[in-house]
């Protein structure tokens, strides 16, 4: 069965079982391995992508559920000024150690700043709270997001 969706700005026809969780399509069919599988249980946030402007977890929800949607993965974020600014800010703050949770965090932060250019610390924490980090880069992630907050895309 063929499913149509838009991924990182390109329309795609995916010929795969629609009951496959999206992450396997992204990683194995499209080579978008920046999207990370952490739990497969929608508990850790590592597999976060942006679908129609909102963050979505891709490890359980199926290809069929994403049919027709406009999806941005970590690989496509830099084409948007806010996404590029968030990535730059994460580098400036060295906001990763092992980096495995980082693509999900960067995607979440970008979606947050797209819907709210100037989030309060509490709003940022609320958005990021579904993301687990084991290395303890949390304070750096918050600082990176605050570098971009207030529309400072050149941060």
């Amino acid at each position: 069965m063929t499913i149509s969706l838009r991924i990182n700005g390109t329309d795609r026809q995916i010929d795969a079982d629609p009951s496959t969780p999206l992450i396997y399509i992204l990683r194995n069919h499209l080579g978008l391995t920046g999207v990370k599988l952490g739990c497969g249980l929608e508990q850790c946030g590592a597999c976060t992508v942006i679908a129609d402007g909102a963050t979505a977890l891709s490890c359980v929800k199926t290809l069929g559920e994403f049919a027709g949607k406009d999806i941005t993965t970590i690989e496509g974020l830099a084409t948007h000024p806010v996404g590029a600014a968030v990535q730059k800010a994460f580098v400036a703050e060295n906001a990763a150690q092992c980096g495995y949770c980082t693509p999900g965090m960067v995607s979440e932060a970008t979606a947050l700043l797209l819907r709210n250019a100037n989030p309060t610390r509490a709003q940022t924490i609320e958005a990021m709270n579904t993301h687990l980090c084991r290395c303890g880069s949390h304070t750096r992630v918050l600082k990176a997001i605050e570098r971009v907050a207030g529309g400072k895309v050149d941060a």
């Binding site: 079982d17 496959t20 969780p21 396997y24 990683r27 194995n28 080579g31 978008l32 391995t33 920046g34 999207v35 990370k36 599988l37 952490g38 739990c39 497969g40 249980l41 508990q43 850790c44 590592a46 993965t73 970590i74 690989e75 974020l77 830099a78 990535q87 994460f90 580098v91 400036a92 060295n94 906001a95 990763a96 150690q97 092992c98 980096g99 495995y100 949770c101 980082t102 693509p103 960067v106 924490i125 609320e126 990021m128 709270n129 993301h131 687990l132 980090c133 084991r134 290395c135 303890g136 880069s137 949390h138 304070t139 750096r140 992630v141 918050l142």
Partner: protein, 710 residues
């Protein structure tokens, strides 16, 4: 002092190559696991060689090519590899200058180097490293006695740096083992028993729906082209498999078992266990004003990597290649050679990044799993990944521990007698072989094969500050110390090395007890510490953290606490201060954290700070939330709901103060802040609520229980 890594690998060519293309390749045996060792090494090399860091590559760490520097563990990488790379690159620079002096007909002292270009000041003639040595071996030994540069001349060491590879991490371009792909590759998953002691009775092959099943005894795996089809098949096979459950896991009260079970007890003298009878706990001295005793408990914790372990393996023409995120590729190679009855030289292991591991997690086990499947499919690359439930349920945990302390203090606050006994299972089950398949025994799958290797029985670690007795010895100047390690048998869960080994629990206990003792003796806890420290660097760190912690007025309803240790009594000095509150619902909320550390010479200050901060946050997670749960039928902490960890909503503001010690030896920093953080939290809870918590983790349930018992 000779560098052990250089003694083992004395030739400069084992550490460094100069390319004709203007690139410099630095070799190390230490792997980058997010701790930024590769960044530190390239900053060192850049300064010693006088080349731009951008010219320097850190070589992939693979067996047969990389220097064998044992395991990337114990906060040893800077002292071992950092120092080795410094001496190697300093040797190379000196050698290159002597070659240039001849070629340029100039005095060596009249040469200068700018980004690899050597210039004679008098004549302005020049020759580059790449022309002199490009593509050619040095064929000289590393000068063990060479002095590195004067720290005052450093351009990179000690300055702010962006971690090498950071841009790839934030853009999704970094390739983890999990992301590898090879032509003809099969994905694979393992079907594990319900618990350690279960044996496979029956397997329904039809559930594989045409995918390849590998079965060897009770080891079962499934492989196929489509990853999700493999995932589903593994679930169906697991659901239909039947197992002989045997007696199950011991499910008596854990902390009762730890001090009641059979054990090996050894006195510890100045941080080293000795094979002598344990001295009895003496009666309190006559001039003791206060004698106090307390018992502290720490449950099993897990490494909890965010990315379940994975490995790629290919078995071809009787040779095996494995891509692994193991922290010790040489010891793993030996263990796998034992497990598969293959010559070591027929196995190559290539380190490839994984998610943060924090010690001996599933990385080594999954490498053997992948190899076992690869051996059944010669010529076919196998990418085998553990699931979240595999990692949570089968990784080698850090052992539960009990610490029993007793001390007597005279009327002036002088400690007259001190006793600290620590109990627990082993912290030392990395797959290191001492012959007779002992390495293979430490890899999980071997115990399930049709020719099983029995699970290993741990011997007590006898080194200085290892395992159960790491940081048991106080750095404080206490008289009449009685230290005892107890390696306990018959405990339920598989254990091995996790960040700090026993130091986290011992420092938690010791530094909580210091506060208790100070209070019992009517002394200020910080002043009590300072009074009993003779090491000036320790005092400096304690004072710096205390000053930062107490410099602001504390809002109502909060408490402050403090903890200090020098990791292994020989690495980084670290003091942690915490400000927190405890809610009506008995939840601990962390507000502020101050860290002061003396890590010797600091190469990458931001990287060092990141290690200190990450250590505190991970320890805060262990301290407030974490406990591996199990019952007779197996481990029940199988996901992030049943094993919760710290989230953004409880992350304090952190201020990190690093002491500048240019020219001093490196002191490993990666594990220094964990123990002090735990004690600081416990002491702050006492300050905020009056409750002294001695059983980890400090969950609302444990806090309420402490309140009931108080």
């Amino acid at each position: 002092m000779p560098n052990g890594s250089l003694t083992k690998q004395p030739n400069l060519d084992q550490w460094l190559s100069i390319g004709a293309d203007g690139r410099v390749l630095v070799r190390t045996g230490k792997v980058d696991i997010g701790q930024r060792i590769s960044t530190a090494l390239l900053l060192i090399a850049a300064d010693e060689l006088d080349v731009d860091p951008a010219r320097i590559d850190i070589a992939t760490v693979e067996t047969g090519v990389a220097p064998d520097e044992g395991i990337t563990s114990g906060s040893n990488s800077m002292e071992e590899s950092g120092d080795a790379v410094r001496r190697a690159t300093a040797t190379a620079r000196k050698h290159l200058l002597s070659l240039a002096a001849k070629q340029l007909d100039a005095d060596e002292n009249a040469l200068e180097v700018i980004d690899g270009l050597i210039r004679a000041r008098a004549t302005n003639r020049s020759v580059s490293y790449w022309e002199l040595a490009g593509g050619k071996p040095f064929a000289i030994p590393v000068d063990q006695s060479i002095k590195g540069k004067d720290p005052a001349t450093f351009r990179h060491v000690g300055k702010p740096a962006t971690a090498r590879g950071m841009a790839d991490l934030v853009t999704g371009n970094a390739t983890y083992v999990h992301d590898m792909t090879m032509p003809g590759m099969l994905h694979a998953r393992v079907i594990r028993p319900p618990h350690y002691h279960a044996k496979l009775k029956n397997l329904d092959d039809s559930k594989a729906a045409g995918l390849a099943i590998v079965r060897d005894g009770s080891f079962v795996a499934v492989a196929g082209v489509d990853e999700y089809a493999v995932v589903k098949a593994a679930e169906r096979i697991a659901a239909a498999a039947t197992w002989e459950m045997g007696k199950g896991l011991p499910d008596g009260d854990l902390f009762t078992s730890i001090t009641a079970n059979e054990r090996i007890s050894l006195p510890v003298i100045k941080g080293i266990p000795v094979k002598e009878p344990v001295p009895p706990l003496a009666q309190p001295p006559k001039d003791a004003a206060v004698t106090h005793a307390a018992r502290y408990e720490r449950p099993y914790n897990m490494h909890g990597t965010i990315g379940p372990s994975a490995a790629m393996a290919i078995f071809e023409h009787s040779k095996l290649t494995i891509w692994s995120h193991s922290q010790g590729i040489y010891i793993l190679r030996e263990a796998i050679s034992e497990a598969l009855d293959m010559p070591v030289d027929d196995i190559k292991i290539v380190h490839t990044i994984g998610a943060g591991c924090y010690g001996h997690n599933g990385a080594d086990d999954v490498a053997l799993d992948a190899a076992l499947v690869a051996r059944h499919h010669p010529g076919t690359p196998i990418l085998l990944k553990w699931t979240r439930a595999d990692e949570h349920g089968w990784e080698p945990y850090t052992t539960a521990m009990v610490m029993e302390l007793q001390a007597s203090v005279d009327k002036d606050g002088k400690v007259l007698a001190w006793s600290h006994e620590s109990y627990g299972d082993t912290h030392n089950m990395r797959p290191r072989s001492t012959g007779n398949k002992s390495g293979a025994a430490r890899l999980l799958a071997t115990r399930y094969l049709s020719s099983p290797v029995p699970p290993p029985v741990a011997a007590p670690s006898m080194g200085h500050h290892v395992g159960i007795h790491r940081n048991q010895e106080p750095l404080y100047n206490f008289a009449n110390q009685r230290l005892v390690k107890n390696l306990v048998r018959g405990l339920p869960l598989r254990t091995s090395a996790m960040r700090t080994l026993g130091a986290y629990a011992n420092v938690f206990a010791l530094e909580s007890f210091i506060d208790e003792l100070a209070e019992a003796a009517g002394l200020d806890a910080i002043e009590f510490r300072i009074r009993n420290l003779t090491d000036e660097r320790a005092v400096t760190v304690v004072k710096a953290a205390a000053e930062a912690l107490y410099k602001t007025p504390m809002p109502d309803g909060r408490g402050r606490g403090f903890g200090f240790a020098r990791y292994k009594n020989q690495k980084t000095y670290c003091a942690v201060g915490i400000e927190l509150s405890v809610t009506e619902a008995a939840e601990v909320k962390l507000h502020r954290c101050v860290i002061a550390a003396d890590a010797g010479e600091i190469v990458d200050p931001d990287g060092t700070a990141a290690q200190m901060e990450g250590g505190v946050l991970q320890a805060a997670s262990w301290t407030l939330y974490e406990e591996v749960k199990y019952d007779r039928d197996g481990v029940t902490s199988r996901d992030w709901d049943s094993y919760p960890i710290l989230r953004f909503d409880n992350v304090p503001e952190i201020e990190t103060i690093l002491m500048a010690r240019p020219g001093k030896p490196f002191l490993g920093a990666g594990e220094a802040s964990s123990g002090p953080a735990a004690a600081a939290i416990a002491n702050a809870i006492k300050d905020a609520t009056g409750l002294r918590l001695r059983t980890l983790p400090f969950t609302p349930a444990n806090i309420r229980k402490a309140a009931m018992d108080a």
